[in-house]
């Protein structure tokens, strides 16, 4: 049986080495390289179908943040390189280019962070989402918190500021809908801003003028930096501040000297900050150390440990586990294998749960409140405030 085993398992992926998506894509890709290298050092990945360890060959192409090129290269991976495992580039915009190509070639697309609900439908079995709940589910904790906790805290008015792109606008909509069911809270400011907005001072100023009790801001990491910067530049403080990436991209924010702005703010405690219990692979702390060691020892510059790194690693682990169950490398068999993990795999991103259409419905981050560093420490503190079963502390409101 082992005779017809392939010499290597070809894992194909795309990443954006330049352009708008590069800063999210590269850390993720570096994590995949780390994962593949680790496996190969141990002799490869165990494949149930051949009942042996087979080395992994990671084939990666740079799509330069261009969806058109990403489509081509996905096709290249399928038709020329004949990969066994096909991964998409990070972000929905880039993943979108791979979804139809994979489907047309009946290749399972291992979708790492492309969480747009557009990608999933019952009639397309060729996609599974790995490292992030689908966009329409991801904001669940904050939406629930808004509905159930905010009135109790005495919050009467809310300001929403969000980037009008797929991922962020979805979250804002979820919160807005929650607010609609909460008549005691008024929305006093609701603004969408273009994704390339890099200066938020005007918005912060206008928001201040509306005097909201709570501010919820959803943006991509670059927007987040700009937003926090604007708070910093204008010396603004809010009683309740929620940011989209305050926890997941904390290292980036810290390295840009904006950590202080996060004190007492809230954010979804994604895997970059919240330690989900894992039942396979490294825990968060171990991975961070390993990742950073990998980055420095390979002389990779300008890559931060954060959510994207974890997502890449986690994607690798899911693939690894799936291969360990799959009877063959047949794509639908791989899908079946991935589904056997659903509900059984605890990952750095949370419990891995697949909906029937392949989208992710576990991996929903709890809501955390960021605390100033404890005396003598440089690290920011964190308490989980929602959902109730995970909560470690009560929210401190208003922020001091």
């Amino acid at each position: 049986e082992a005779a017809d085993a392939p010499a290597e398992i070809k894992v194909g992926t795309l990443y954006a080495g330049s352009g708008a998506m590069a800063s999210t894509s590269v850390p993720l890709h570096v994590a995949l390289e780390y994962w593949a290298d680790g496996l190969n050092k141990g002799g490869g990945v165990f494949v149930k179908g051949f009942n042996k360890k087979i080395p992994i060959k990671l084939i990666s192409y740079d799509d330069q943040s261009s969806p058109a090129l990403a489509g081509n290269l996905t096709n290249q991976l399928i038709t020329q390189d004949k990969v066994d495992i096909l991964l998409a580039d990070s972000t929905s915009v880039m993943t979108a280019a791979s979804v139809p190509v994979a489907r047309d070639h009946k290749m399972l697309l291992w979708d790492v962070t492309g969480s747009s609900p557009n990608f999933f439908s019952p009639d397309n079995p060729y996609i599974v989402l790995l490292a992030l709940a689908a966009t329409d589910r991801y904001p669940k904790t904050i939406a629930d918190f808004v509905k159930q906790q905010m009135p109790k805290l005495g919050i009467k008015s809310v300001a929403l500021l969000y980037v009008t792109a797929d991922y962020t606008a979805f979250q804002a909509t979820a919160v807005r809908n929650a607010l609609k069911e909460t008549p005691e809270i008024k929305v006093v400011f609701d603004r969408g801003v273009p994704q390339n907005t890099s200066d938020y001072t005007v918005f912060v100023n206008n928001m201040l003028a509306a005097k909201p009790d709570a501010v919820l801001e959803f943006g991509y990491p670059a927007n987040e930096l700009a937003f926090l910067r604007a708070l910093n530049d204008t010396d603004s403080k809010f009683k309740f501040l929620f940011t989209g990436y305050g926890l997941t991209e904390q290292n980036l924010i810290k390295s840009n000297g904006l950590a202080e702005q996060l004190h007492h703010s809230y954010a979804l405690a994604g895997p970059g900050s919240y330690e989900f219990k894992v039942n396979y692979g490294l825990n968060r702390h171990q991975f961070e150390e390993a990742y950073e060691h990998w980055v420095t020892s390979h002389n990779i510059k300008g890559v931060e440990f954060g959510y994207n790194a974890i997502a890449g690693y986690q994607a690798g682990l899911v693939i690894e586990r799936s291969l360990a169950v799959a009877e063959s490398l047949d794509q639908l068999e791989l899908r079946r294998a991935a589904f056997t993990l659903s509900g059984n795999l605890d990952t750095l991103c949370g419990p891995f749960v697949l909906a029937p259409d392949g989208s992710q419905s576990g991996e929903i981050a709890p809501l955390g409140q960021i605390l100033p560093p404890a005396a003598g420490s440089k690290e920011l503190g964190l308490s989980i405030v929602w959902p109730a079963d995970l909560a470690t502390a009560k929210p401190i409101y208003p922020s001091p």
């Binding site: 261009s66 058109a68 290269l73 096709n75 038709t79 020329q80 915009v93 280019a97 139809p100 190509v101």
Partner: protein, 306 residues
């Protein structure tokens, strides 16, 4: 006149179509093949306006996006068959071209940038959240169109034949000659009885329609996309770079530009992904510095000397 047309189509268009038609048997990355045809159409479409009227629209991608969205919205909101939707894509771009026709008053870089601004404006309108009910807004679109690789590829080649046929005709016809005269000197062209505005408008609309049609075909082959994907500025940049590099105003130039530069682009992308951008950038610079007249002119010069 007629003879030149026949010769050019026989020497350039026919072989090209034959090669494109047999390629799927030799190489099965269909999407790459389709993209080659897409860029051939974009480069030749740009060639129509730039090569014959001197207008270089940096925002050419706007028509491509208009075509893609024209196609998508038709399928999303009506029961029209995809083929009809492709036509709608072409018409959408044609209408966009008409709306932007006043920009033809501008010259040189002013025109280029104004058209870019127009393309950006169109993208922002389509991506506007308040219109998500209609356009999908920032959430993008997902179309449930049947995957028809042979049909889309064939359709793309058909569009290419139309556009290149038009280019070949313009090169040989009096209308084309008049356009070139108007490009050289609109003032003396007008006094020589040439309706400068009309000529420009015709090629401008033809060029817009070509981009719209091919945008629609592209959307058919990549039916899940976000606004930024079909309004990606690199479509414009590439079409311009390929056309100028190969030699505008010729039939073979843009073809050479696409084959050499887009070919190199994909080869480098696959063979040296780590240094993709660097190698490609250096290649482009070297080509400009060492073949400043474009490769097509090199071929022409050879022939004249020989």
């Amino acid at each position: 006149m007629r003879k030149g047309f026949v010769r050019e189509t026989a020497l350039v268009l026919l072989p090209l179509v034959v090669v494109l038609a047999v390629m799927p048997w030799l190489y099965n990355n269909q999407l790459l093949l389709l993209n080659i045809v897409v860029f051939l159409v974009l480069a030749q479409g740009l060639n129509l306006t730039y090569g014959f009227s001197g207008y270089l629209p940096f925002g050419y991608v706007g028509f491509f996006g208009a075509g893609a969205y024209g196609f998508a919205l038709t399928l999303m909101h009506t029961a029209a068959p995809p083929l009809l939707a492709v036509l709608v894509g072409g018409v959408a771009a044609l209408l966009a071209g008409l709306v932007l026709a006043p920009l033809l008053r501008l010259q040189g870089a002013y025109f280029g940038l104004a058209s870019l601004a127009a393309a950006e404006a169109l993208r922002h309108v389509i991506a506007n959240q308040d219109l998500s009910e209609i356009t999908g807004g920032p959430y993008g679109v997902r179309l449930d169109v049947p995957f028809r690789p042979v049909l889309t590829y064939g359709l793309a080649i058909g569009i290419l034949v139309l556009v290149m046929g038009l280019v070949a005709w313009l090169r040989q016809s009096r209308f084309g000659l008049r356009l070139r005269a108007a490009r050289d000197n609109p003032v003396s062209a007008a006094t020589a009885g040439i309706d400068v505005v009309h000529g420009r408008l015709v090629v401008w609309l033809a060029s817009a329609t070509a981009a719209g049609l091919i945008g629609a075909v592209y959307a058919w082959s990549a039916p899940t996309f976000f606004p930024e994907a079909v309004f990606d500025l690199s479509f414009s940049i590439f079409a311009i770079v390929f056309t100028l590099f190969g030699g505008a105003g010729t039939l073979v130039g843009p073809v050479i530009g696409v084959v050499v530069l887009y070919g190199a682009y994909n080869v480098i992308g696959v063979s040296a992904p780590k240094y993709f951008q660097l190698v490609y950038g250096l290649l482009i610079m070297a080509l400009v510095l060492f073949f400043p007249a474009g490769l097509a002119s090199l071929a022409v010069r050879r022939r004249r000397d020989g």
